[in-house]
Symmetry: C2
């Protein structure tokens, strides 16, 4: 405990956060499967027994580490008050968060990386993306199309994050935030207020 690196604060919540930070870094660097509890403890500068004390199993540590870096309901607060501009507003706030906060962006990318290699991480990300967007969207759309609308907004936001920060597609990575708001906003707006058929209805081709 005395060899805690990076000047982290002592005390219960400081130790817990140090473990979570170390876990997120290691999950992002080497993947969930290769990040041992021992390595997480070493990076956090704590005794491995403390990880068991705070989190129990590695799966529970993963679940705790996969929390979103920002509360989606705070991020999207008020968006539902102006449904006709919701598309642009959702894109603007997402880009403000990611462009302005490299740490938040890296955590989202780490979450996505974990989701691609680990079913439990995929489940966590599914719940976060769809559930949080869904909660905001249900303030606008209250019919049976809401889950598909929220899911499709999640796919476009996730894809935009991938394209801008991970794949770095030149035209997407190099665009100003406002030109992306103008370009992507109408697509998201379609998912918010456009004509959408409920997902469970089979349409003839």
């Amino acid at each position: 405990m005395s060899a805690r690196p990076k000047g982290r604060r002592p005390g219960d919540s400081g130790t817990r956060e140090a473990i979570l930070d170390a876990a997120r870094e290691l999950f992002a660097e080497v993947g969930y499967d290769r990040a041992s509890m021992r390595a997480v403890a070493a990076r956090a500068g704590v005794d491995p027994a403390l990880i068991h004390h705070y989190f129990g199993t590695k799966d529970r540590l993963l679940a705790s580490a996969l929390q979103l870096p920002v509360d989606p309901e705070v991020l999207l607060a008020g968006v539902a008050d102006h449904p006709e501009r919701a598309g642009a507003e959702i894109v603007r706030r997402g880009l403000m968060l990611w462009d302005g906060n490299p740490e938040a962006r890296d955590r989202m990318v780490g979450l996505m990386r974990a989701a691609l290699s680990h079913d439990q991480a995929a489940a966590a990300m599914r719940d976060l993306l769809a559930g949080s967007v869904l909660a905001t969207l249900e303030l606008v759309v209250r019919d049976e199309t809401a889950p598909l609308r929220a899911g499709l907004i999640g796919t476009q936001l996730g894809g935009l994050m991938l394209g801008r920060y991970v794949l770095r597609i030149p035209a997407v990575a190099g665009a100003s935030a406002e030109s992306l708001v103008a370009a992507v906003g109408p697509a998201i707006q379609h998912y918010v207020t456009g004509a959408i058929v409920p997902a469970d209805v089979d349409q003839p081709a």
Copy 2:
């Protein structure tokens, strides 16, 4: 060479394909960094020296393994002839390929997983996604907005693949292909023919 598993055909192209199949499987299962040349050789049932013979370095093996499972120009042939339905048509063909061909889908997902953990894979995927969509799109749009349009189509298609096959967001994974064509088509159509500001122009907020 005599212990070749899975009944693969002998001869030069059979051996090369066996190595590529083994590499793709291992990259998908354990990631690029952990997939040793020796393990690839063992899975392919060939001598490790043959991998060096065909591909030289591990990086060149990765580049070869990351080829798209289908030629995008074949997949999108004729789409540009009807620009007004291009959005729905692009979504329909993508879903036909992925829904109907689990192997092609797994290779795309493996490519995405590699892209999230390895810069060279990200570069390969960036070129494939943006470049191939761009080639088709430039048959429709010939101005300076084409790269941003193509990039945004790539983000929505990539996000849709993630949401439907990896995260398995219930409303997105459970939707019929035709209801997704109806729902996502207009968003892609916006990127093909809608009002898009060139990416490099900074807009005041």
